[in-house]
Assembly symmetry: C2
Homo-oligomer: 485 residues x 2
């Protein structure tokens, strides 16, 4: 069984390199002096190259060959299964293509930034075309038997998801959601609340402390865009941001907490193996959305949040706070969308990126297609590409197939929450008092502990007893259409 | 010339890995939640192993063989020269020995910590014996023709230094310094000044700002032990610590600034090559000591420091401040020693560690030998091993040959400062006004820019026109024996 111990040692090394890359990125966004950027990008490049080299090396193939047909059980069996899948997938991508994608992505992101600032799609189009072509070629390399290039790309984020299944789910959502929006908007209060930043900071700190965030194994910092870094067992770092004019900090803290909790509750036996991280982008996003949509936006939890704000000197009734947190207002910008219209922003992007990759939409026609989709899904007019197809970094950076996980996360979160409540009963009393131990335990038991041992589809079916569906999410958003202050 | 470009690429990779290791260590000491320690030590272990593997790989030897006899000039010639030296040196150490040294060092450090807390040398002795034996074996591997094992160890910190030369310098110092101590002590004011921490923080920030520390390429943080991390061009991080009862923060900030400035002023062409860092521990320490001893402890600079303290609300005369900064008081503890007695602490350690490595002093006899040397050099009695041979981490961690650089730094700093003043004239007016541009430029020109292109001895001779000697340091400390409030 030399192969197995070698494989495990390499897995530990790759897990360490992942953690190091995550720390470097965290530092870059939270601590690094501005002029450290060039050296940081070189260091990250070197680590990515080493990581790729070690993940695709020939000896890994030899160890896997040694283990072919060897009967294994439990964790070992999954370690070898995933190692084989990852290695075969990575080996299908020529080094030259991987390198070109990396440099096109870095350049594309620069170009995108300039183009967005100038609101000039023509400036961005050549970089986007290059990224689309490279992504298509990459998708072709990694696509499984009978899969399209776009499905190949999806597999990087959510292994096993089929584009046809996504299309079915998203088409239904695109029909079900728009009719709810008008009524929800009419009943919503203005979404902004002028809560001073120091009050928000105190409320965020107080709320996270109730959820178990303590300083011996967490950091909470500020960054331009909120994110979570899991550096190692006992070292989890979330960030948020504060603006006087809104209460995004409360929602985003809970959102990042959900990502963090997932990684923290993975079975310790999986640490430093290839199984020891969240199984997919969509399940990860479901964990953040569960805490954002089903905890932070829960009417009972609003009592706790209002109490935290009150303790910091800002009086607001739980009802008013809740109404604001669930308020609906159509907007052109994905990142500031409410929980009802958010999936529509994703459905739009899914349709367009899939069409570009599959060669059905020319890059030059993207702005018009975007405008048409925004009109159809949200009834809004796009005044500029900066507020349209230039708003997100993803395509500029070369990421295609990533967007769907944002909407899938909303669906999975709703389905998991219904299963949780079906098993544990109504959570209102506990949420009102900030008691989340049973929620954490349920998620740990049914979702977190598996790490990568279960893929998205299998995990959802095992945890909820049903295939992924849109109904739980529709049941979650239905009352939003009736929410009022 | 494939060999050369491969060699340069590997050098860039190794430089990046060094920077990454430094960032991880900085983060560990400044930012990391306590429970991240286990994962951090694994990540650092993985990076060290990868670094070692890439630094000693067979293909490096092949590239060097290709370049054998190829005429090269300038930087390229030095890159190949140092790559050959480093590679040959590293290859002489068997992997098993390197691994055992690493684990013995980690374990020894733990044992040392417990033994020091318990003031129990017997608890520490077995770990120390093991470290001494491993270091002796390592020293034998790397020692050059005609060098002893201890000289081999020295080479890791200061390539080219001979123990016999060190002995000659240190013996002279051990004769010259003690007679000065009594008078200096009598004339010194009490060394502690009760300056509130917020005042110290403002004065440190103000002073560093005058030296060019600005937030786009520096960080200044707090850590348990002050240190400097150079993460990359444009990303330098110093730390200090604050205590109500003393003004260590002022001296230590200038000390770390000296380390930082060295790395920042290395020729940019040497970045990401094997030449792009300070050439040795002793020259590095000379740069910190230059700013600590010859700038921070300069009477003219005391005017500036007193002004910064005054601006923060603490009134003190420059004369009183200066007298406190240069005050002499014999103590048992190296890290809190004044600038006159400091080298004596090092001379003691040099003698003892050399004797242990060369087999002339048994580990069991260390406490008695320590007590005898403290009595002889400082006229003090050692009340406990915790305040004696258990006070420093170095031997517990497996570091032998490192201590001398601390004293060499003092000597080199004094010699460089005399050369600087000889060339530029008296610096008092400039120091009084916080104008340090000419000092920075002189150090950049004569010391910093070379990186590793010149070894310690050659660098000192070129910069000062003379071999390393103790007289400049004696001239620096002589007035301390007359310092008075």
């Amino acid at each position: 069984m030399t192969g197995l111990s070698e494989l495990r040692a390499r897995g530990a090394e790759l897990a360490d390199l992942d953690a190091v890359q995550m720390l470097l990125s965290w530092d870059q966004l939270v601590m690094m002096p501005a002029r450290g950027a060039a050296a940081r990008s070189q260091a990250l490049g070197t680590l990515a190259r080493l990581n790729h080299e070690r993940a695709t090396s020939a000896e890994l193939g030899e160890w896997l060959a040694e283990l072919e047909g060897v009967p294994l059980e439990g964790i070992d069996r999954d370690i070898v299964r995933l190692a084989r899948r990852d290695w075969e997938r990575a080996r299908r991508v020529p080094d030259a293509l991987a390198a070109e994608i990396a440099s096109a992505g870095a350049e594309g992101q620069q170009t995108w930034q300039a183009a967005r600032a100038a609101d000039d799609f023509q400036m961005f189009a050549p970089a986007l075309s290059r990224n689309v072509e490279l992504a298509r070629e990459y998708g072709r390399c990694v696509a499984g038997e009978g899969e399209t290039p776009y499905e190949g790309l999806l597999g990087d984020y959510d292994f096993g998801l089929r584009a046809s299944e996504l299309t079915r789910l998203f088409d239904s959502l695109a029909e079900a959601l728009p009719p709810l929006v008008g009524e929800a908007e009419r009943r919503s209060p203005p979404r902004s609340l002028e809560i001073p930043v120091p009050v928000q900071q105190a409320a965020v700190a107080g709320t996270l402390a109730r959820l178990g965030v303590e300083e011996t194994s967490w950091r909470v910092d500020v960054s331009a865009h909120p994110f979570t870094a899991w550096i190692g067992s006992g070292d989890t770092r979330v960030t948020t941001r504060y603006n006087d004019g809104n209460i995004e900090s409360l929602l985003s803290s809970l959102h990042e907490y959900g990502h963090a909790l997932y990684e923290r509750q993975i079975d310790p036996q999986l640490q430093r193996t290839n199984l020891g991280r969240g199984t997919s982008m969509s399940v990860h996003e479901s964990q953040s959305k569960l805490w954002e949509n089903h905890v932070a936006r829960n009417p009972a939890f609003a009592e706790l949040l209002a109490g935290e704000l009150g303790a910091a000197g800002f009086e607001i009734s739980p009802g008013e706070l809740h109404a604001t947190l669930v308020g609906v207002k159509r907007s052109l910008v994905r990142v500031s969308a409410d929980s009802l219209t958010y999936p529509l922003h994703i459905i739009l992007r899914f349709g367009l990126e899939r069409a570009m990759i599959e060669g059905e939409l020319a890059v030059a026609d993207l702005p018009a297609a975007w405008a048409e989709a925004i009109e159809r899904l949200l009834g809004l007019e796009v005044p500029s590409d900066a507020l349209g197809c230039l708003q997100d970094v993803h395509w500029g950076a070369g990421s295609f197939g990533y967007f769907p996980s944002y909407a899938l996360g909303c669906l999975i979160a709703a389905q998991l929450w219904e299963a949780l409540v079906a098993e544990l009963g109504p959570m209102d009393d506990e949420l009102r008092n900030g008691e989340v131990e049973r929620i954490k335990a349920w998620l740990g038991e049914h979702v977190h502990r598996y790490g990568r041992r279960l893929d998205t589809t299998e995990l959802i079916e095992q945890a909820t007893g049903a295939s992924l569906a849109i109904e739980p999410f529709l049941r979650y958003v239905a009352p939003l259409a009736q929410a009022s202050a």
